[in-house]
């Protein structure tokens, strides 16, 4: 019964999505206020029905309803209840339902939080998001029904992939999809502006918090995925330039460019057409990512060709969305205008450089991701583009972007003076150079990569100090507290996010250069020394889990030459009952200056094991940096000016807003 309710709710949601797309858009075009007014209630109704469908699916999973094919293939009686719940988005069908849930959730959020928007614009935004909902609901109902029954019902399910039975994996997909799908809001705003033929500072101010919100969730989602790969895959890598990772990373890069371009559009009225184009591009890349991950092309283009229904649907949808919005752009962009002028050295020009570099970086990732697929489709041979390509291309493109990122916030809008910037930043440059050279030397290993990375990171830190100091000094208030308060939340958010980039770079540079590892055979009682730590393998013990049997290795860690055990580590080998699959669980001792990482390979003989020991200096700064970036984004969203009633400000002509940030 419950699955049928879910299915029915989905069908009703589709009907509502059709109404949500048609009535507000037509009402706005024909000037019928009654139709326009339906936008918000229908959007909320659509969300409630999708939510109902999703609750029905989650209930089926939690109740072990193996008469539902999706449950039977992705869950198991012995699977703990929280993983049964998470398994509801562990399958293709379930994850598409999560996609639609996120989409309708964002739409409902727009409906509820857009009271200050002119009715017609809000209606158009909601209507365009309705069009997207139609596409994805149709996709689920036609090709990927999560409620399909299995006759006769299975006695037990096939189990969730053990790799996914992990707390990080429980929250990773919802976060990632929140971000992915969130760019739909910015996209809908951009399309609404094109239809409206009007794009001004007020428009940019409405879009900004939504774009930033999506970007923050995407940042967290990608960071969680990377962290999960680090501890779960058992070989200590944190980013593999895998097509699935790239699929989420490309919208992130363009989303970053979009956030900055929106800042210029809001503050200076410039970059208008470009902003609209980026908004279209960001969402298109989200759709492309969905296509890559969901159609099966990555598994094999030939497998895709044998069951093309899903892939062709998404590809067609992608073509319609991208083609339609670009056609609309070509037709209407001149109405939107290019925006104000600025000098060759100005904050605008720094942000322009940032945008160009980010877009080029995205293009290089796109090429490396799609090229093997294209060759394969043409039967021109099978190749793979490995991490060396991406490392060789991505980092050199991003390095100047990071360098300029530190300067940009110090430059004045419209026209900045290079000599002034030089005077303000020369000490920051000295500090960065000294740190970049000294730290690798102090760690006893010279490496140009580490030196350059640390130089960039400290350049960001030092320039931020200069910037904060200058801002506080310039504020007219007499007390420090008053001066702190004089700056806006969005400025603090930006500063924090930029510091996050610096923290991230420290992590990457340190771990790339100074990590040490040993793959070694260890018999009980044997010791291995790594990075000043002594690891003693004392043996193994059995450890039953809820749905697996684990063998735990016991390691005592001492300082080299010391006698006191500072830490015991217990990496595991698990065998899952339902699938019989073996999983390696590494044990990680994480500290702010680095991780100790132990994982077990295979048993060799006489109780000896193949053991992998790593020391990863500063590796947690990578995810710490991402977390700081996301916090900065959330802080920026909290800025008062986004919450003020915008009707008053909407009457201010574009370009008239010239506040300092």
């Amino acid at each position: 019964m419950i699955p049928e309710i879910g299915q029915f709710a989905l069908a009703l949601a589709l009907a509502l999505a059709v109404a949500q797309a048609f009535l507000p858009l037509a009402g706005a075009a024909l000037g019928k206020p009654a139709w326009v007014a339906t936008a918000r209630p229908i959007a909320i109704g659509q969300f409630l029905f999708v939510l109902l469908a999703w609750v029905a699916l989650a209930t089926s999973f939690v109740n072990n309803d193996f008469s539902v094919a999706n449950v039977a293939t992705h869950s198991n009686l012995r699977l703990p209840v929280h993983y049964r719940f998470a398994a509801s988005w562990g399958s293709h069908e379930g994850s598409m339902l999560l996609w639609v849930l996120m989409l309708s959730g964002w739409t409902a959020a727009v409906a509820l939080l857009s009271r200050h928007l002119p009715e017609r614009i809000a209606a158009r935004v909601i209507g365009i998001m309705g069009l997207m909902s139609i596409g994805f609901l149709l996709f689920i109902l036609i090709t990927s029904n999560p409620f399909e029954r299995l006759l006769p019902p299975a006695l037990d399910g096939r189990d969730l992939n053990p790799l996914l039975q992990d707390p990080g994996m429980v929250i990773h997909p919802p976060m990632l999809y929140m971000g992915y799908v969130g760019f739909c809001v910015a996209f809908a705003f951009a399309i609404a502006a094109l239809i409206e033929g009007r794009l001004d500072s007020a428009w940019a101010r409405w879009s900004r918090p939504w774009t930033t919100a999506a970007w923050c969730f995407l940042t967290l989602g990608i960071a969680l995925g990377s962290w999960w790969a680090y501890y779960e895959l058992g070989w200590g890598g944190w980013w593999f330039w895998d097509p699935v990772e790239n699929a989420s990373f490309m919208p992130w890069i363009v989303g970053t460019a979009l956030m900055h371009s929106l800042a210029v559009t809001e503050k200076r009225g410039a970059f208008r057409s470009w902003t609209v184009l980026l908004a279209i591009l960001a969402f298109s890349l989200s759709l492309l990512g969905t296509f890559l991950v969901r159609s099966g092309v990555l598994t094999s283009v030939h497998a895709f060709a044998t069951d093309p229904k899903r892939g062709v649907f998404i590809l067609g949808f992608l073509a319609v969305v991208v083609g339609g919005s670009l056609a609309l752009f070509a037709w209407r962009a001149h109405k939107v205008g290019l925006g104000g002028h600025f000098s060759g050295v100005s904050r605008e020009s720094f942000l322009l450089a940032n945008n160009v570099l980010l877009t080029v970086a995205m293009g290089s990732v796109l090429l490396g991701t799609l090229y093997p697929l294209v060759l394969d489709t043409l039967n021109a041979g099978k190749i793979s583009v490995g991490p060396p390509y991406f490392d060789a291309v991505f980092f050199p493109i991003m390095a100047p972007a990071v360098f300029l990122m530190a300067v940009g916030p110090l430059a004045a809008w419209k026209k900045a003076e290079l000599p002034g910037l030089w005077v303000r930043l020369r000490w920051a440059l000295v500090v960065a150079l000294v740190c970049g050279i000294a730290i690798p030397l102090l760690r006893g290993k010279w490496s140009p990569v580490a030196a350059f990375g640390l130089f960039l990171a400290f350049w960001v830190f030092a320039a931020t100090v200069v910037q904060v100091h200058g801002r506080l000094k310039a504020a007219p208030q007499p007390t420090l507290l008053g001066r702190l308060r004089a700056n806006s939340a969005s400025w603090y958010g930006m500063t924090l996010a930029h510091l996050g980039v610096g923290v991230f770079i420290v992590g990457v540079a340190m771990v790339k250069t100074f990590e040490t590892e040993k793959d070694i055979r260890m018999a009980p009682g044997e010791t291995v020394v790594l990075a000043g730590y002594e690891f003693k393998f004392t043996g193994t013990r059995e450890m039953p889990g809820p749905n697996y049997a684990a063998l735990q290795g016991i390691f005592e860690v001492r300082k080299e030459g010391g006698t006191e055990v500072i830490r015991r580590m217990y990496p595991e080998k698990r065998v899952y009952h339902a699938s019989g699959q073996t999983m390696t669980e590494a044990d990680i001792n994480a500290t702010i200056t680095g991780d100790l990482y132990v994982s077990m390979g295979e048993a060799v003989e006489n109780g000896a094991w193949g053991v992998r020991v790593y020391h990863k200096p500063f590796v947690d700064w990578i995810w710490g940096g991402c977390l700081i970036m996301a916090l900065g984004g959330f802080l920026a969203m909290a800025d008062r000016r986004y919450r003020l009633a915008t009707r008053r400000q909407a009457s201010v002509p574009a370009g008239a807003v010239t506040a300092g940030d």
């Binding site: 992705h74 790799l163 099966g296 190749i383 793979s384 493109i397 699959q581 003989e605």
Partner: protein, 159 residues
């Protein structure tokens, strides 16, 4: 600066950035593309010398031999028609099993042994790495069909 000069600077700057990026990309592409070969192609010596490549197929049942004191493993990768001896030192992934699909990256040395620097098994037991499936298909191996349905692990893909 005059608007015209400014526009010229912007265009030149943009083109320069694109040019640099294109140069980086092409350079990196040339040196970092990893080609894929089947065991049959390797046996026929169609592979490049001194260059990393990937080889995929099944781990031949009964071929896995571990050396006693070290982490060195010898095994054979087969596509049904030919099998190639492989040597690897290090810890093998969880999913490495006799009779299952595998992809190895490395070079062939003078003695005809494939020295793997990396063994990839990012798949679960009902999924075949695409390269391995391709090798089996080309050699007409019967396992190619049953594993060729595109039923990938949604798990791994969900990343």
């Amino acid at each position: 600066m005059k608007p015209r000069t400014k526009r010229a600077v912007a265009i030149v700057g943009g083109l320069a950035a694109l040019g640099v990026a294109a140069a980086l990309v092409l350079n990196a592409f040339q040196s970092n593309l990893v080609f894929f070969f089947t065991p049959t192609q390797v046996a026929k010596n169609e592979v490049p010398n001194d260059r990393l490549f990937r080889m995929g197929g099944l781990v031949e049942p009964g071929s896995v031999v571990r050396q006693k004191d070290a982490l060195t493993v010898n095994f054979k990768i087969t596509d049904g028609a030919q099998s190639i001896p492989v040597v690897y030192t290090g810890i093998l992934p969880d999913l490495f099993k006799e009779g299952k699909g595998v992809v190895a990256q490395g070079k062939v040395h003078g003695d005809g042994i494939f020295k793997a620097s990396e063994v990839l098994a990012k798949h679960d037991e009902n999924y075949m790495p695409p390269e391995a499936a391709e090798a089996l298909k080309q050699a007409g191996h019967p396992m190619a069909k049953e594993n060729f349905t595109g039923q990938g692990p949604d798990g791994a893909k969900a990343r």
